[in-house]
Symmetry: none
Subunit: 204 residues, 4 copies
DNA sequence: TATGAATGAGCGTTCATTCAT
DNA sequence: TATGAATGAACGCTCATTCAT
């Protein structure tokens, strides 16, 4: 599990907590973590800055909880896919689909993860970000390599390069994706997979 | 042309200026614009914070000059490609190649652009960021649409989606690309174009 | 009314605000606005510099509130005098008396007004200083001219010169006046009026 | 003599020095001593800020030289008047006239003296400001008292109050007086003396 | 639970001053 | 004589955080 076990000031009402975290996540995603003031979050939540400290230890612990909650859920989905024993092509399809579903559910958290994780990972408490990225790389890169070995992906594929492109396009989508738009996550995933697997030029 | 015409303290030694901007760009790219203190830049440049203000008006004007210099050069390259009258496929190839060349030359500037342009664009002086993005969309999206019309790209392609994927993967590469690595920009561009155009599954 | 309507951090305890403004006014008057540091004001108030910003937006907004409060009260008094329909001599007497009463009540504010208003008036937010000065001139100069026309002031009087002398002596008194001294404001006003109206040489 | 004897960096060209001091005096008078940057003075003089330090030790030494030069000249004039053995009324007339002549010649210096002398007097090197003020008070106050004793001024005159009014109105005139205007210094002095001695109401 | 008021560290910036050239 | 470049101290201000109520 991601995040810190020494759970902070556990407020008696976990719903209020979740509301506040959701508010914080939106502001972090929109303004960036550093540029977001704790006062701004409090404003948005209809309280004073100091009052947030009844619910959370610090601004850092807010973003910590946002990211670790998201990653926990992400890995629940990924692990299910990886345990299913699918072929390389189907695994890629399933991982992409799962990723877009997470973006749909945790858009703000994904955007924060995308923009801030490199900075945050330098802090000890965010060590799980680095761990997660390692597992992430293992899952995607492994699948690509298995696909090349099995002949379902092109033999001349630079798998490390392909991994980076896959990873980046999937997550960066959080910066423009708007839930409730005209495309469902599954539809976007389908189109995306089609581009990546078959290219944008016609196959006759 | 991008950037502000009322150029600040135009010191008669533009070399020092360029050195300092290069230093600043590295720090901005590594730490983020907001998280970068002017003292940190000065440290890195071997001077005191106040001394930077002999050369620049403000922290903002530093990032302004970094970004506008980069965009001016980028558009010089893009415009040449667009004026060449190539077919859609060849245009995409040339734009991608040109982009990776810019990443190679202005890695830090591209990383800053990628991470900060949305925030900065809110400030009047950075209006050219929005202008640039509009032109950018015009160039890529137009080429994709022309390709679909000409039948050189798949008829079922969602061009807006494809544009976003192309744009994002190209620029986000600045966050992992290291100049002087084992792949030249042209080599990376070639592999990337191959993936995007033909997909990662074999065409027999 | 003077001052800015978009009142800043309107804290629900206007007493603390008034205390702090009073402290600030004393320091401004003693050291000059520019030479006064916000740290000095905070010291005098027994707090840290940053803490002042809980109560006020800026150093500028402090002097703004000091001056506009003073001018509002001044004009309340002046308007009453001007509406009373007195003769020119009695109007001058009443305006002088009212002025010394204001000096007695707002010595620091008057001293600041005297020393800094020309500089501050250049800033948009202090436009009311210029307005006030115009009304001021209208009231005094008008009364002097009426007095000359009515024959109660000397026919050879240069009214513009006389206005300047009156204005200057009245307000500059704030720089030496000490409340609680041996002369009441009314007593000083009486002596001053006597000098101005009848001169310092004996009338037999 | 006022000013400091340990004369600073004596530049070989005293004319350039005087030009620079004149420039500095104008800026000090217009913006206030504290608010005036050394860079602004240099701009006005067509040089760089650092270059001023070839001519002067410091910003302080500039204002020092401006004020002491003015006071030396003022006292030359005053002393001549005081040595002339005039009656009280004629002495007042002569002092006022001499004062307006100084304002005419040294408008900027007088304005600086008026606005800044209280602050500057706190610094050791400006001790002569306090001395000068003492002599000043002696001259004016003594004349007024002699006049009351001789019966040429009103017996009920509060001489200290009268002194302050005289002093303030004379000097504060520097803030509105413009050399080359429609009134000569002597004409202004005549009108002013007439007001002060005979009042503004008619003497039949 | 939340507020009002304060802390203290640090930030971007200014500016008088220095000095090698 | 003047410049270009830098210093270093201080300034106005911001902000995460604390805490008595």
């Amino acid at each position: 599990m991601s995040g810190n076990s020494k759970k902070t000031t556990v407020s008696p009402s976990p719903e209020r907590r979740r509301e506040l975290l959701s508010t914080a996540a939106e502001v972090f995603a929109a303004q960036g973590y550093n540029a977001t003031t704790v006062r701004r979050i409090a404003d948005e939540a209809g309280m004073l800055a100091g009052s947030l400290y009844y619910h959370f230890d610090s601004k850092e612990s807010m973003v910590d909880e946002i990211l670790s909650t998201f990653l926990d859920e992400l890995w629940a989905g990924y692990d299910e896919v990886l345990r299913a024993g699918l072929g390389p092509r189907e695994t890629i399809e399933a991982l992409v689909t799962e990723s877009f579903r997470e973006i749909d559910r945790h858009r703000a958290a994904v955007a924060i993860y995308q923009k801030e994780s490199r900075q945050l990972a330098a802090l000890p408490r965010f060590g799980y970000l680095t761990d997660s990225q390692r597992r992430f790389e293992g899952a995607w890169l492994g699948t690509l390599e298995r696909g090349v070995a099995d002949g379902v992906f092109r033999a001349d594929l630079d798998t490390r390069l392909a991994y980076r492109f896959l990873r980046d396009t999937v997550w960066v989508a959080a910066s423009w994706y708007r839930p409730g738009g005209q495309h469902s996550p599954e539809e976007i995933a389908r189109q995306y997979v089609s581009m990546v697997l078959d290219g944008i030029t016609p196959r006759d």
